[in-house]
Each structure stands twice: as structure tokens, then as C-alpha cells.
């Protein structure tokens, strides 16, 4: 049996402390009134009946938010388009002002003595809506004469982002022997962390400080956003977070309830708590994906790639959410050449508003989508123009000899061995044995397919300039280490402690880890972009070195020698020795003041390029349209691996989420009414453990090519499972159904969708 992670016993035994586990004396409870319409003018809100209800202490509307001077929720990008224009960005209110723009938008916030009283009072608020037509898809938003989500934004067009060389790319296409075009939809998803959102805010009038408990992925960005919105200095907000039950990108910025709880606490003079339900998750957590990419590849007669050209349609939702525009501009653009030597690229992304919940980052945030599109395009090009799909890749791979390689999209890949990774994966899956396996399936009346994807993604770059860490040494010699990244299942306690303890050469259980302690006003990135091992991990390496450097002279003094050596937690010199822990105890100040070994460290590390080759082998039951994932191989170059079990879990989880998007998950709005149709697990299928291959059929194989861009050689893991699995699964699907005459499929390929596609193809052939 594999060793468990340090945090597992605590979490499994129910000792985790999540957002709704925090309570304070005299706290009140809040409940949110949400819009039942996708698009409507609010003619009137009458809160009087709710205010008169038992236990109700306050009912906040946009008027209270405005009175407090709170501003727009933060989001969007600051880049300019080719005409020098900034993105068109509506005011994103904490509570709806004179209109609602999506179902689930927060309209009022009731605070009462009990959660039930607050919920009862929500039902008593009278809102008079004047409905107007809603649009819920990019295509409908951009259609001529479409209703405007925001009156001052014509055509619902927020921004047009361009990247690359349009003229050079056009010339390459003009001279191409072969051109292939593929459109891929990456449908809107619900991110669905296990823990629904909750918060507890408390204002201390004596100090003017706020205490806030709410799930987050780090300590800097949420407090900066809170400052921009509420005007409260970030340094006056103590954001205390211990455990977070999943984040996937959507827990990195504050939601309306957090600001409203702060405001209500200040107004009422007592702490205010809000606990969301799964329904709140579906309706009001930021959604994921919601984009369509149309790619074209230009090839010469031998199959050399001359250029890629992309037209991307990005559905932002009703407002510019925290990272929606970032996904639609930077993240879908910078990796748009993939692992291939592509002389020229051009991307045009159109970002539009719809009457839907705003979109933000979800596991990969645009990177799985572009990886999916590229690998579909390569497979399709091979199919259309008679190239072998392996040979076409081999011919165009950037080779190790060409590293470092600056792509036409402007990224510099520092290292990687894409050809070797492909061969490793082909061997692992027994690619050449597939035809015999297909024959076996055919005998049983099943369709079988195999598909691969050579993906790459940019990881580890952060928005903050550096990652700082700190160590504090207690009088008993124990060491606690800190950083600003918040964990939500990544196993930070295990990984960071083992990195730090490894440098000190002591047992990990001698070290304690605390995430996100605001007493240290440090700088550091949140958890996201598959970056904490590379960033914080490297900084913890420096931190251990700094601590040892501080301890060394004290050891020499204690042992009465000029020079000491250090190994396995023990200083030695002159025939004597002392452990680091005993030394720390000896030199501890009597007054519990600063310990002489207290240390700080910081580092700044650039982007890394995790890559890999994923292969899926599937079998379809044509009678039902059910697809069975028989075999999955993930050969990943994630750089050096610090904790194999954690890395394996991350790959497994990413592939499972890829499975979910490929075969079932879809957040659907009614096209006419704008109502949200998939607001519970009764209608929104999540991937089940039993739907993935059993061990023995699911290989996760490391193929590390360590990077020199950080101290640990780690490239990062977390999102790669989605980037590899979406294209591998769809390429396997197309391989299986193409002989049956199916030419195109879009995700999610549910059994019903697949059965219909096969039936229609049969009818067409007949």
C-alpha cells in the first residue's frame, strides 16, 4: 500500500476546517435572492415584507452597496485591440441594479438570526421584473439584430484579440498544397468543487479590520480584488483559509456574498455568515470553458506545417468575470502552435456577452481547449490528405536539438523531447497491435478506436512578481513554514514539507506547514496554472538553505569550533555534534521573541512547458451508443516529479474531468427563455470512478525532461490531464466512428448523441 499524504488522516477523519466550519459568537446568517430571469428590467423591489419577518436584521439591495461606495466586481483584460481600443466591459454589480442579466444573478441579501429565517424572508421580497429577450449562445449574441445584453455594447462584442502575423499566415495558406479546417466546441461546464461556497465576515470597529473566512486559492489576489471593490485596504483584511474542497480556478477571486457579508457585518456590528448550497454552485459559481475554436492548418506537399490560423468564439457570460477574458485572449493564443514547428500563426478571438453566468478559469483555462483543437486538426489533416497520423506528427515535432525554441506564437520552450514521449506512449499502449484488437471488437459487434494527442501547455508563470516563503522556529526547536498559496487538494502539506525537510535532511514530521498566514505580509502567487511545485517549491528550497546558513555560525559557537559540517540534521565539528533541533532550542530567545533561525526566502521563476502524449482506446456499443474507455495511457513530461502519488492523482483527476467533458458534462440554457436547465446532479452528469479504466488499463507513465527554469526541475502538473485527454478521447472516437460514416462530432458525445450520429450515418449510406 502506498503511503498516504500528510493531510489525509486529518481530512478523512473529518478534522478539516472548510469555509462553513468557521463560526463566531453572535453571528447572523445570510441568504441570497437570485434572479429567476435571464434578462429583465427590475421595475420595483419591495423589501419591506422581508424586513418585517421574524429574526430579520437587514435586507441589502444595490442601493446599500452603492451607499457603501462599493465598485464593480473585478475582471477583464487591459490589453488593447489593433485599433487601440480597450475591451468593452459593463459595470459588474455585486447586487443587480435596475436589471438582471442572467438567471442566478444576486438581487438581494437577507441577514437574519438563523439561516432558515433568512431563507424564509428571501421568499417575501417582492421583485417586479419586466422580461426582455435573452441570448444564451455566442452565435445568437453575434447574430444581426440580436438583443443587447448591455445596451451600450453593440453586437454584444466585448473585444477582438489578435495574435501572430496575419499577412504572413495568409501568404503561407496561399502557397499551401493542402489545407484542413476543423471547428471544435468546448462546451460550457460547471466546475463543481466538492465544497460549495461559504463565507464568514467579521468587522472589528475598534481596529477597522475585517476577518474573512472564504475559500481561496491564495492570499494576494482575492484581497487585492476586495480592495478594488470595497475600498478596504487589502492589509486590513485578514483572509483566513485552512481547507478548501476543490477550486479548479474558480476560487481565486471574491464572489458577491463575500463583499455583502463584509458590508452587513460592518453595518450590523456582528459577524455575518453565508453558506451556499449545491444549487448556488450551479447557478452562481463562475462557469468553465464555453468557447469554440476553428482552426486551419496549411501543409506543403510533404506534410510540413506552414501555418496555423485560428478563429475563436469566446462566450464571456453576462459580465467580464475575473479570468474569462484572459482565457479568451492570452491562454488560447500563446500555445496555438502546440508541439510543432510552425513558421507562422495567426489567431483572432472574438469575446462576446450572453445572458448566462460569467465564465472564469477552470482546470487549464483555455489551454486544454487549444490543445484539443490542435490535435483534432492534425488528425483530421492526416485523414483528409492521406498522411499517416504518426508520421505527420513526427515530421513536424520540434526536436530536442532545436531547443530552446521560440514559437511563432512568441513562447520560448526551454526543453522537451516530444518525439521520444510519443514513442514511449506508442510502445506502452501497443499501438501496432490495435488492428487485431479492432477485429476482436468487430466480431462482438462493437466499434473500436484508438486516438492519441501530443499536447503541450504553458504552466508555472504567475501574476505575482515572486514567491516568498518564511520559516518560523519555536522555542522547542520545531519549525513551521509558510507561503501564500492556498491548497485545495493538491497536497501542499506533503510536497512543500518534503522539499524543505529534504534540504535540511531531516524527517518531514519535524516540520509543520501552514498555508496562507496573513501575519506575514508576503508576496506570492496563488495556486493555479500548475505552478506551486515550480514556484513555491523552489522558494522553499532556498528557504531551507537560508535557515541552515543562519544556524551554521551558532553551531560552530555551540561546538566551540571554527567550521562545522552538516548532515542528516546534525552539525558536527571537533569530534562533537549537535542536532539542528537541539541547537534551535538552545539559542531560542527567553522572551519568545524572534528566533535567530527565523528565515525568509524568495524566488521568481518563469513559465514551464509540461507536455505529453496521451492515448485512449475505446469501444462503442452501437446498440446503445455507450462508449467504454478500455485503455488509457498518459506519458507525461512534467519535469522532475517530487511526489509520485500526488502527481499520479493529479493526472488521474485531470483525465477524469476530461472524460466528463467528452462524454457527458454540459451546462445548458434554454435558447428561448434563457432558463438554466442543468442546475442539479439529476441533470448534470459528473464522471464516476467506475467509468474510467481499472488499474492495469490506465497507465500514468512519467517521462521527465527536467527544466532549468526553477530549482527543482519541475514543470508542473494539475491541468495536463485535461489537455491530454480531450483530444486523445475525441481522436479515438473519430477513429472508431469514421468507418461507420460519421464525419463530425462535438462534445459531449453522450450515448444519445452517438447513437443518433451512427443511425444518421447509416441512413445516409443506405
Amino acid at each position: 500500500m502506498q503511503p498516504s499524504r500528510r493531510e489525509d488522516l486529518r481530512l478523512i477523519a473529518g478534522h478539516g476546517r472548510y469555509s462553513s466550519d468557521w463560526n463566531l459568537p453572535n453571528q447572523l446568517h445570510a441568504s441570497v435572492l437570485r434572479s429567476t430571469h435571464a434578462a429583465a428590467r427590475i421595475a420595483r423591489i419591495d423589501t419591506a415584507p422581508a424586513l418585517a419577518a421574524p429574526g430579520v436584521k437587514a435586507v441589502l439591495t444595490h442601493l446599500d452597496v452603492e451607499r457603501a461606495g462599493y465598485k464593480s466586481i473585478v475582471g477583464g483584460v487591459a490589453t488593447k485591440d489593433k485599433n487601440g481600443e480597450l475591451m468593452k466591459k459593463p459595470f459588474y454589480p455585486i447586487l443587480a441594479t435596475d436589471r438582471v442579466c442572467h438567471v442566478g444573478q444576486a438581487v438581494a441579501f437577507v441577514v437574519a438570526e438563523t439561516p432558515e429565517q433568512a431563507q424564509d424572508a428571501v421568499d417575501l421580497i417582492e421583485v417586479e421584473y419586466e422580461e426582455s429577450p435573452a441570448i444564451v449562445t455566442f452565435a445568437d449574441a453575434r447574430a444581426p439584430g440580436a438583443p443587447a445584453v448591455h445596451a451600450d455594447i453593440p453586437g454584444n462584442l466585448s473585444f477582438v484579440h489578435e495574435h501572430g502575423d496575419e499577412a504572413k499566415t495568409a501568404a503561407a495558406f496561399a502557397g499551401a498544397k493542402f489545407v484542413t479546417k476543423v471547428r471544435v466546441d468546448s462546451q460550457r461546464l460547471i466546475c463543481n468543487p466538492m465544497e460549495p461556497r461559504a463565507c464568514l465576515a467579521s468587522f472589528d470597529a475598534a481596529t477597522g479590520r475585517y476577518l474573512l473566512h472564504a475559500a481561496s486559492q491564495g492570499l494576494i489576489a482575492p484581497r487585492v480584488h476586495l480592495q478594488q471593490i470595497t475600498g478596504v485596504p487589502a492589509t486590513d483584511i485578514d483572509l483566513i483559509v485552512e481547507d478548501v474542497g476543490g477550486s479548479f480556478g474558480i476560487r481565486s477571486s471574491p464572489y458577491p456574498e463575500y463583499m455583502l457579508s463584509m458590508l452587513a457585518s460592518k453595518t450590523l456590528g456582528v459577524p455575518v455568515k453565508w453558506t451556499g448550497s449545491r444549487t448556488d454552485t450551479f447557478l452562481s459559481d463562475y462557469h468553465g470553458r464555453a468557447l469554440s475554436l476553428t482552426g486551419e492548418v496549411a501543409l506543403d506537399d510533404k506534410g510540413n506545417i506552414l501555418a496555423f490560423r485560428w478563429e475563436d468564439e469566446i462566450d464571456l457570460g453576462a459580465y467580464a468575470g475575473p479570468f474569462g477574458a484572459f482565457i479568451g485572449t492570452q491562454n488560447v493564443s500563446i500555445m496555438c502552435g502546440g508541439v510543432y514547428r510552425v513558421p507562422s500563426v495567426f489567431v483572432r478571438s472574438c469575446l462576446a456577452y450572453t445572458n448566462t453566468t460569467p465564465v472564469s478559469s477552470y482546470r487549464g483555462a483555455g489551454r486544454p481547449d487549444i490543445a484539443y483543437a490542435i490535435e483534432r486538426l492534425i488528425d483530421q489533416a492526416a485523414q483528409e490528405h492521406g498522411f499517416d497520423n504518426l508520421e505527420l506528427r513526427r515530421r513536424n515535432f520540434i526536436t530536442p536539438a532545436e531547443m530552446p525554441h521560440t514559437t511563432a506564437a512568441g513562447q520560448t520552450y526551454d526543453c522537451g523531447d516530444f518525439p521520444a514521449v510519443l514513442e514511449h506512449a506508442l510502445k506502452t499502449v501497443d499501438w501496432s497491435g490495435f488492428p487485431a484488437r479492432r477485429t476482436q471488437s468487430e466480431k462482438r459487434g462493437k466499434l473500436r478506436g484508438i486516438g492519441l494527442a501530443s499536447y503541450i501547455e504553458a504552466a508555472a508563470a504567475g501574476a505575482q512578481p515572486k514567491d516568498q516563503t518564511a520559516a518560523r522556529v519555536a522555542a522547542d526547536g520545531t519549525i513551521t513554514i509558510y507561503c501564500m498559496a492556498g491548497g485545495s487538494g493538491q497536497g501542499h502539506e506533503t510536497t512543500f514539507v518534503s522539499v524543505f525537510a529534504g534540504v535540511l535532511d531531516v524527517a518531514p514530521d519535524a516540520i509543520q506547514y501552514r498555508a496562507s498566514d496573513p501575519a506575514f505580509a508576503m508576496i506570492g502567487n496563488g495556486t493555479g496554472g500548475s505552478r506551486t511545485a515550480a514556484g513555491q517549491g523552489s522558494s522553499f528550497t532556498l528557504l531551507a538553505q537560508a535557515l541552515l546558513a543562519k544556524a551554521r555560525p551558532h553551531a560552530a559557537k555551540a561546538l566551540g569550533v571554527a567550521e562545522v559540517s552538516y548532515a542528516k540534521g546534525v552539525f558536527s565539528g571537533g569530534g562533537k555534534s549537535i542536532t539542528l533541533k537541539d541547537l534551535a532550542r538552545q539559542v531560542a530567545p527567553a522572551d519568545a521573541g524572534t528566533h535567530p533561525f527565523d528565515s525568509e526566502a524568495e524566488g521568481s521563476y518563469g513559465a514551464t512547458y509540461p507536455n505529453g502524449c496521451h492515448i485512449a482506446e475505446i469501444e462503442i456499443d452501437p446498440d446503445t451508443g455507450v462508449t467504454d474507455l478500455l485503455r488509457y495511457v498518459a506519458v507525461d513530461d512534467l519535469g522532475n516529479i517530487l511526489q509520485p502519488m500526488i502527481v499520479e492523482g493529479q493526472v488521474h483527476g485531470g483525465v477524469a474531468q476530461g472524460w466528463g467533458q467528452m462524454f457527458g458534462e454540459h451546462a445548458v440554457y434554454d435558447r428561448e427563455s434563457g432558463q438554466f436547465l442543468t442546475a442539479s446532479f439529476m441533470d448534470y452528469p459528473m464522471p464516476r470512478a467506475g467509468w474510467l479504466p481499472n488499474s492495469g488499463h490506465f497507465d500514468r507513465v512519467p517521462h521527465p525532461v527536467p527544466t532549468k527554469k526553477n530549482l527543482l526541475g519541475a514543470k508542473g502538473v494539475g491541468e495536463s490531464g485535461c489537455s491530454g485527454s480531450l483530444p486523445a478521447l475525441m481522436n479515438a472516437m473519430m477513429h472508431a466512428v469514421r468507418p461507420a460514416g460519421v464525419k463530425e462530432l462535438q462534445m459531449p458525445v453522450t450515448p444519445a448523441v452517438l447513437w443518433r450520429a451512427l443511425r444518421d450515418a447509416r441512413a445516409k449510406a443506405a
Partner: protein
């Protein structure tokens, strides 16, 4: 959830009297549909009368050629019962396909049948096997019991006590799980009984569980999967929604029926 008064009945008679006294009262069995309904504030009963622990409603008994199952018997107990596996293995096979382990540990036969969800599994077995629903007031034949989606012959205050299943000569259940909810998107219970071949369909019909008469006639002639070739349920009678069209559900009914027959014929 709205506030209500919770009462745990000590007997079926007491539960009936509590229902009679409080017109807005509702029964709580295993709570697998009712509790989520309450949590979503889709029901506002004045009283919730809990009958889930009543001993007189629990248990499985085989007598002669019938299997009698108490209304509050949990799905997990039916699935694991050696008596059921021996007497009507298809019924145990059905029970193990309901929900997940947590649902099976809480959900009850009586609760499922009284709710008559159009995608629930048990109604198909009750109908195909020609079971008798025994209430605190009377006995109801399965053919009279199910009256369309979420609608049954139960009167106000009437409580299912047990369901009596005659043993078939042979039977099998085949189910296509809804990808999100796990309910039946199409579930077909085929039973060769003393009163002839019966084929009950759940999950697909827009009026809830129903007997597929054409299939019964074909199987009566020749009990083989091939007998269903060229026969289909009417698409117009099938559910069409976000997840699947009526044509797909109609098609699935045929596939599941054949698979159930093949389980029997091998």
C-alpha cells in the same frame, strides 16, 4: 427546507391517525426523493410522519409461491436477500441497480412504489410480476395501482404495508442508466408468469410505467429475443427531454427488452 413538525409514528395505525388529523402532513419513508424535495423547498408539509423504522412494515417473507416484502424494506436488503435471490432473482438484480450504495441503504420499496417516479425501477417489477399492493385499508392489484407519472391509486391517508410478488417461472430486468441521475432511461422487466408473459417498461414512457403489449404477444408465441425484431414501442408515448429524444428511448426499450430476454434464455 421549510419548518415542519416531525413525528415518528409508533405503528401504522398511529401514522394513519396522524395523517387524518393533519391534512397537510406527509409520510417519510427512506426519504430519497422526499428529503431532496424538502431541501429544495418544493414541498411545505405541516407535519412529517416518519414510518421508516416501523418493524411491522419491514422484512422479507417467502410463503408458498409468493414473496412478501414489507414496504419499509430497504433496497439493499432486497438486493442482498438470499430468499429473494432464490425465489425471484430478477428482483434482487433490479434492487442492486437502484441508485448507489447510500441510496440503497436508505430507500424503501414502499416509498419508491408510492412515489411512482416514471424513471424508478421497482414499478416495472411490480407491474410485470402482477404483484399485489397491500395497504392499511385494502389490497390493490398492480394493474390498477399505477395511474401515470407520480400518480397512484393510493387515497389520502392510505399507507402501503407490503407488496406481495407471485414467483414467476422466469424473469429478468435490464436497465439503461440515465448518465446523470442514475435512474432508468429505459428499464425493462420481462417475466414469464402463471398469467402469461409480461413486459413492463419504466423510464421511457411519458405516462410512467407501462406494459408493452406487442412484445408480450410476440414473446408468448416464441420466448426469444429475436421475436422482438421489427417491434417497437410508440415514440409518441416516450419521454423526450434534454438528455435524449423519444426515438432514442423507444429504441433503448427494444434493446433492453432483448437483453433481459437473453439473460433468461442465455
Amino acid at each position: 427546507m421549510y419548518a415542519f413538525e416531525y413525528q415518528r409514528a409508533g405503528s401504522v395505525a398511529e401514522a394513519a391517525s396522524l395523517l387524518a388529523k393533519n391534512p397537510e402532513a406527509k409520510l417519510l419513508a427512506g426519504g430519497q426523493t422526499f428529503i431532496p424535495t424538502l431541501k429544495a423547498r418544493l414541498a411545505q408539509p405541516s407535519h412529517v410522519v416518519d414510518i421508516g423504522r416501523l418493524k411491522e412494515l419491514a422484512g422479507i417473507e417467502v410463503k408458498g409461491n409468493v414473496v412478501s416484502i414489507g414496504a419499509m424494506t430497504r433496497h439493499a436488503e432486497v438486493a442482498a436477500s438470499a430468499d429473494v435471490k432464490k425465489a425471484i432473482p430478477a428482483l434482487a438484480d433490479l434492487a442492486i441497480e437502484i441508485g448507489d450504495q447510500q441510496v440503497r441503504n436508505r430507500g424503501t420499496l414502499g416509498g419508491s412504489v408510492a412515489n411512482n417516479d416514471p424513471a424508478a425501477d421497482y414499478p416495472s417489477a411490480v407491474l410485470a410480476l402482477g404483484a399485489t399492493i397491500v395497504t392499511n385499508q385494502r389490497e390493490i392489484a398492480s394493474g390498477d395501482f399505477f395511474q401515470g407519472m407520480f400518480s397512484t391509486a393510493l387515497q389520502d391517508g392510505e399507507i402501503i404495508v407490503r407488496i406481495v410478488f407471485p414467483m414467476p417461472k422466469r424473469a429478468a430486468y435490464s436497465k439503461f442508466h440515465h448518465p446523470a441521475s442514475g435512474y432508468a432511461m429505459a428499464g425493462v422487466f420481462v417475466a414469464d408468469t402463471a398469467n402469461g408473459v409480461r413486459v413492463a417498461v419504466t423510464g421511457a414512457g411519458s405516462s410512467g410505467v407501462f406494459l408493452w403489449k406487442a412484445a408480450e404477444a410476440a414473446l408468448t408465441k416464441t420466448f426469444a429475443a429475436a421475436s422482438l425484431d421489427g417491434i417497437a414501442v410508440d415514440e409518441g408515448e416516450c419521454i423526450a427531454d434534454l438528455h435524449a429524444g423519444a426515438d432514442y428511448r423507444a429504441h433503448l426499450v427494444g434493446v433492453m427488452a432483448k437483453r433481459a430476454i437473453k439473460k433468461i434464455t442465455g
